[in-house]
């Protein structure tokens, strides 16, 4: 039997349990909404404007740096599995591969993009 069916069952049950718990809260809890209660929390002060606004762009740069390394991990995992069979040659290839990525990190670093300004 396919192993991924178990994973699918885990996902289904993993969704059922929290949905059930939240439904129980929905059934047993009181429901008396009013506009003041439903206003956005801002430490008791009336909310000013919307929260969905332009946000600091620095987070975006970190996500870009992350993406490079995240994709690289997909290539490195098979390399790590077969490392024992491939010997020194594969290790040197791996070092070159990581070095190319590290150049990217060093570039970002020298550009001052890793400083939180």
């Amino acid at each position: 039997m396919n192993e991924w069916i178990y994973v699918a069952l885990f996902i289904i049950v993993g969704l059922i349990i929290p949905i059930g718990a939240i439904l129980a809260g929905f059934i047993f809890g009181p429901k008396k909404p009013n506009p003041v209660k439903q206003s956005t929390y801002e430490c008791g002060i009336e909310p000013v404007g919307e929260a969905w606004m332009q946000f600091k762009a620095q987070y975006y740069i970190f996500v870009l740096v992350f993406l490079v390394f995240d994709v690289e991990a997909v290539f490195l995992f098979p390399w790590a599995v077969k490392l024992g069979h491939l010997g020194l040659y594969a290790v040197i290839e791996g070092i070159i591969f990581v070095a190319i990525l590290v150049v990217g990190l060093v570039y970002t670093w020298r550009k001052g993009m890793l400083e939180w300004a």
Binding site: Y6, F10, I17, A21, T40, Y41, L76, I95
Partner: protein, 397 residues
């Protein structure tokens, strides 16, 4: 004696016999049995989760020289159940401006991302759950769903605190995912497999001996991934009040809270599986799967305790410190360690086990020492640039 050796299979065969006896198709009976097994597993996890609340509260109380919960039941053991009743009968307020579908799905996904991690946990030599051949990659994939649930909660609440908290938390999670990914490769290199059970089977020598630095970096990255102190800047009580889950109440908040505790326990378990031999303990796991499960549970609890110990000892760090710690120190160090491990693995591949272990251990120590020296001289230069040249001891007095 069969039940003693393989309780799960005996129970499953018995159930399948009953189902086929009712005239059910064999495949359907099997799927139904597995479904019930998964259901049982997750229900047990939720019960463990309830006690984790008690453990967390009791341990933090002891760290802070308090008594902790001690009213309901012996040692306050029934406090979490009172908490659950309270969470269920509380009103579940939804902010009027929230993006309702995103807001409501976030806590469900948060809990689900933690529960599905247990699909790949090998509890005992015969209780493997899902024996995926890409088990290690599955951990990362499930972790990505956790990050998604947090950004959904932060965005969907339409609250400024929640949005800032969500952004910060996701920045921490994705940053520290790089050292974590890299450290997950080290057991993979040793075991030559991404299968969790093969990683445990390969640990005749615990991988913490082969790679102590790897275990340490994995723990650091795991703590950051969990968003616990010293990396809990997404919570920041004094500035963000509670971070991404600020607008949640009732059982939806409960799901975030329970998910966080179970996540910490799960990563204690992964730490044990990847570096401390999982269910193995000097051959005791061969006696009965029941012992194996207990050994894994104890190891996971020890890992969880270490995570709590760090949480209640360290101060929260700022986001710029967190990001420079990760990108300027931990990520280069993790890659250096991976390459050193790969190199030593190739050089010592035909060496006897004791020489292999010794070589790996020394390589780790040297890597850690070199990294700390580089960091020390770099920070010293930075400080001198900021403060001017260092004054001598006499000049300061």
């Amino acid at each position: 004696m069969n039940f003693w050796n393989d309780p799960l299979k005996v129970a499953a065969d018995w159930l399948e016999g009953i189902f086929t006896g009712w005239g059910m198709d064999a495949v359907a009976a099997h799927v139904l049995t597995v479904f019930l097994g998964v259901f049982l597993m997750i229900v047990i996890l939720m019960v463990v989760d309830v006690f984790l609340v008690w453990i967390e509260r009791k341990v933090v109380a002891r760290f802070q020289d308090r008594l902790g919960p001690n009213r309901v039941g012996p040692f306050g053991l029934f406090h979490p159940f009172a908490d659950i009743v309270k969470l269920i009968i509380k009103e579940d307020t939804t902010p009027g401006d929230a993006d309702k579908p995103v807001y409501n799905i976030a806590p469900i996904l948060s809990m689900m991302s933690v529960l599905i991690l247990w699909a790949v946990v090998p509890l005992a030599p015969v209780m493997l759950g899902t024996d995926l051949n890409v088990g290690v990659l599955f951990i990362i994939a499930a972790g990505a769903i956790g990050a998604l649930s947090i950004i959904m909660a932060g965005w969907g609440s339409n609250n400024k605190f929640a949005l800032i908290g969500g952004f910060r938390q996701v920045a921490v999670m994705i940053s520290f995912e790089i050292p974590m990914l890299t450290m997950l490769m080290i057991p993979v290199v040793f075991a030559q497999s991404m299968n969790m059970n093969a990683i445990i089977q390969g640990q005749s020598v615990w991988y913490v001996v082969l790679s102590p630095l790897g275990a340490l970096i994995f723990l650091t990255a795991a703590i950051a991934e969990l968003g616990r102190a010293p990396f809990d800047l997404a919570e920041g009580e004094s500035e963000l009040v509670s971070g991404y889950n600020i607008e949640y109440s009732g059982m939806k908040f409960g799901m975030f809270y329970a998910g966080e505790l179970l996540h910490a326990f799960t990563f204690g378990g992964f730490w044990a599986i990847l570096f401390f031999g999982g269910y193995r303990f000097f051959g005791l796991e061969q006696v009965s799967p029941i012992f194996a499960v207990l050994i894994l549970l104890v190891k996971a609890l020890v890992g969880y305790w270490v995570i709590m110990w760090v949480k209640y000892t360290m101060m929260r760090i700022r986001i710029d410190q967190m990001l420079s710690f990760n990108w300027k120190f931990l990520t280069p160090l993790a890659f250096a360690l991976l390459l050193v491990t790969a190199l030593m693995n190739a050089l010592l591949s035909s060496a006897p086990v004791w020489l292999y272990a010794l070589g790996m251990f020394l390589a780790n120590i040297v890597t850690a020492w070199v990294a700390l020296e580089i960091a020390r001289s770099a920070t010293k230069q930075e400080r001198e640039r900021a403060e001017g040249p260092q004054k001598t001891a006499e000049a300061r007095h």
